[in-house]
Amino acid sequence: MKRALSYLGLAAVAVYCLAPFYWMVVSALRRPQDQFDNGPVPSPVSTENFRAVFGGHNDFGRALLNSVVVAGITTAFTLVVGVFTAYALARLDFRFKNAVLGLVIATTMFPGVSQLVPLLKLFTDIHWINTYQAMIVPSLGFALPLSVWLLTAFFRQLPFELEQAAMVDGCTRGQAFRKIIVPLAAPGVFTTAILTFIAAWNEFLIALSMVNRKEMQTATVAISKFTGVSGMDQPFGTQMAAGVIVTVPLIVVVLVFQRRIVAGLTAGGVK
């Protein structure tokens, strides 16, 4: 009895999480003329919506490329900078350590729009509007604290006694760091990379404000601005198909590295 109840509960949780996503997939696979059909499975199945995503005025391939560039560079940069800071915060003992940690957290709480307004004005003045750097630079404001915070949480769990042992055995501090700590820290760095990439990939406000030319839009902005053939009604079928294209790779990555990501989320406690 208790077992049956627990399965029922699990099923309820799974349905709650997956039903809307399932609806997105189903709607994407309908023919455009069946769009308002509310049946639970598409019949007949059609890839017309997916073809529409890349055809016509939408130019979605370019938008995907833009997203990869912006999120990729943001992630790479924050990791390179963040790794050193996180190492210092996790490993070294110095004054102001809590102050620095507090500052990093305070910046994650910062409302994006109060960073955006002055930067929008500045970038207009220096003609950065419609460039990648106009999206990457503000993104660092949320991506860098996030990755420093996550990396610090991971690095704290490392067995630093091993590093000391290596130094006793004659390694310099740099060697000990490279040969002992880096390989052990790699999984945490990798998880942080995934989480930061997802955060940057999902960004909307900055990308929406810093760009007004279509060929520079990132995927999330481009999808929200899709126009139908007639131009007036919202092309939901195409938008759902584009949503599936943007989301499925993320979900696959998330499922493959599920354990790591859960560890990262619970260690960091931030989004």
Binding site: L18, M109, G112, V117, E161, L205, Q239, M240, I251
Partner: protein, 345 residues
Amino acid sequence: MSTEVNTEASPDVGSEVTGVSRRATARSPRPRRSGGRRGERRMAALLLSPTLLVLAMVVGYPVVAGLRESLYTRGSGLDADGFVVQGNKFVGLDNYTSIFQGDRADAFWNAFTNTTFFTLTTVTLETVIGVGMALIMQQAFRGRSVVRASILVPWAIPTAISGLLWRWIFQADGAANAVLGHQVLWTADGFPAKLAVIIAEVWKTSPFIGLLVLAGLQMIPREVHEAAKVDGASTLQRFAFVTLPLIRPALLVAILFRMLDVLRMFDLPAVLIGVNQKSVETLTMLAWFEATNLRYGSAAAYATLLFAYIALIAYLFVKLLGADIIGEARQAREQARGARKAAKR
């Protein structure tokens, strides 16, 4: 693994001290303790500076520039001699006072109320549903990993995409109305629009709270529950007096982060309902709208007010409920200090 490290580490602690002292005396005549500390401090400064520099540029500078911006107004005016003057003009607190006058006061208080209302409702619902999910998953015998995987799906979907998805579900002839068997105009301006935003937001983020709480639940030793059971505590009592206090720290941090996130909400109402819709306009949307219309001064004033509001809420939350965000760090530091003392002895 861990016992192995420990047995190896304990003799090492003694030899490490001698090792350090040997190197220190070989390299410099300075007394060993202060030399090591100073080196460590210098290294910390070196390692921290890139991050602090970047944050100063991409966050620190905009804060200061935004504060300055909010005291200026842009545009052309006539000077005393009747010439057109272009550029920024210092106007003091005019940008702030004009927010609280006339029609714009209504718009501000409407956005303020919406933001607060969304924060209270979504965070409450998310916490209740998230804790419920975590309890269900903890009770599970099998299939927990499958459900944990599905819980990550709403989290991974970009907010803007989930806004579109829910806009589609909430269409007049969409799935929500078909399920309800009742026509509700969700995406028109009105109370159902608020409800639509709340539903979409709770759907996306309550699994996340569930995940955090589940991690907290799994750290509670089973003996604690068994002891409470032996003492005659009912299921409800065990939840209220054993489980909740033990997951409280993790839960408070999660709630704080969620609150700060909802307070700056933009993507979801903007995509799901649209900008400039009275029923769902938030403070971020108001500031954004001003900025895209090139009224930077008043946009900066809105943004500053939002910033102050968020800072106030964060401060009150930490003060009143004692959410200890960097407590873990402090603890780790004290442990390290204790270990060093022990090693010296």
